[in-house]
């Protein structure tokens, strides 16, 4: 997998600092699972966190706080916390995404949103929303702008817009200024993980076909 479009430093730092809404965290964690370059940059931003912590002044601790901490340690069973098992990826989805779907591609509960496009909204906390998109090969996406910030991570296939190609592992970072016409490449259906901090517009009361699908 040759990744050409990476997460921005801004996103990686915000993820390291713990400032992103859950849906963006999911896109970052999924891309980093696929990309050692961003994994290394993320680790560098965590070192900044260590330096910030080390520079913090020392708050006065309560009396006997060390004793209390030992009591806490002793109250828990002394079975070592196991490391999260390194994932052996058999399917398409890296572990953090598979966690949200409850399995791989075959477990996704797709819903049609018209023109052959399907989506599945993933359960995430407030501030942003995440969904999987399935775009038939060769399908043009209606011209659309973006409200807020939108991250689109390609998992399978590819899409092109006026200026660029986004293949597996690539992430497109779009904001209000982005106007483009993405087209899923011929040959293979395109599956993406997308997250946006714009409010979800799509609900059952609005005719689905009228919705530009990337935002929905």
């Amino acid at each position: 997998m040759t990744i050409r479009h990476h997460l921005s430093d801004q996103l990686l730092m915000s993820y390291a600092a713990g400032d992103l809404p859950e849906a963006f965290n999911l896109v970052v964690a999924t891309h980093v699972s696929l990309c050692d370059d961003c994994r290394a940059q993320l680790a560098a931003f965590e070192v900044v966190g260590g330096a910030v912590l080390d520079r913090c002044d020392m708050a006065a601790m309560g009396d006997e706080s060390l004793t209390a901490c030992f009591a806490r340690i002793d109250s828990l069973p002394n079975t070592p916390v196991r490391a999260r098992k390194p994932a052996r990826r058999n399917g398409l989805f890296p572990a953090p995404l598979a966690d949200y779907v409850g399995g791989d591609l075959d477990r996704v509960k797709w819903r049609s949103v018209g023109a052959g496009v399907r989506q599945a909204i993933l359960p995430t906390g407030k501030g942003a929303s995440a969904r999987l998109l399935h775009i038939p090969a060769g399908q043009a996406v209606p011209d659309h702008g973006h409200r807020g910030m939108e991250l689109t991570l390609v998992l399978q296939g590819a899409f092109r817009d006026d200026s660029d190609r986004f293949g597996p592992g690539d992430v497109e970072i779009a904001d209000q200024a982005t106007e483009h016409t993405p087209v899923a490449e011929a040959g293979m259906d395109c599956i993406c993980l997308a997250a946006t901090d714009a409010p979800l517009r799509f609900n059952g009361l609005i005719p689905r076909l009228a919705q530009p699908f990337f935002r929905i």
């Binding site: 400032d19 290394a40 070192v47 260590g50 706080s65 070592p80 916390v81 994932a87």
Partner: protein, 181 residues
């Protein structure tokens, strides 16, 4: 940071906690880091009681996860930061935080002496670099790490020398990928 702190072998103390459940070593780590974690959490918006509670939690986690600490990959300060950050997200934002896939560093991935030394120095060097930033810029970075800044407000350019850290980790990842294939 006091000069004596630079000389303390925090990773060595962690190893004694891991291998011998050494309470004196843990106490030394606690005295240095617990008050900083408490202060970190208070800057993140926790009141003193909650911050004290969570700081003890973070330090207890340090004890229970001591065997997972890999000194060639991160300094003790960096590792404690990630535990404190996750505790903060849990306690203050009550949100989930998906993590990247774990890599199988394996037991045979022996800590490289040079890496060990480097990860120890990196936090100290970055602390010094932070101290030299203009006040406004430093404050912005610190606020981001206290969870007090949305990603929209964050400056893309930190002015911190992160290139060498990234290259070191990138190299370690390449080595690992070669071993795995």
């Amino acid at each position: 940071m006091q000069a004596s702190d630079d000389m303390t072998d925090w990773a060595g103390l962690m190893a004694r906690v891991r291998d011998h459940q050494d309470r004196a070593a843990f106490a030394a780590l606690f005295r240095h880091f617990a008050p900083r974690v408490k202060s970190f959490l208070m800057k993140s918006g926790a009141d003193a009681t909650l911050a004290e509670e969570c700081a003890q939690d973070v330090m207890a986690t340090l004890w229970h996860k001591a065997h997972l600490f890999d000194p060639s990959r991160a300094s003790v300060a960096t590792w404690i930061f990630t535990i404190a950050r996750n505790r903060r997200i849990d306690a203050l934002r009550k949100a989930r935080r998906p993590e990247p896939e774990e890599l199988d560093w394996g037991p045979e991935a022996e800590p490289d002496g040079a890496d060990l030394f480097e990860s120890r120095q990196e936090t100290t060097r970055l602390g010094a670099a932070l101290a030299q930033l203009p006040d406004k810029q430093r404050a912005l970075i610190e606020r981001a790490y206290f969870g007090d800044l949305s990603h929209g407000e964050l400056a893309a350019e930190t002015g911190l020398p992160l290139g060498t850290i990234k290259s070191r980790i990138r190299l370690a990842l390449e080595k690992l990928r070669q071993q795995m294939s």
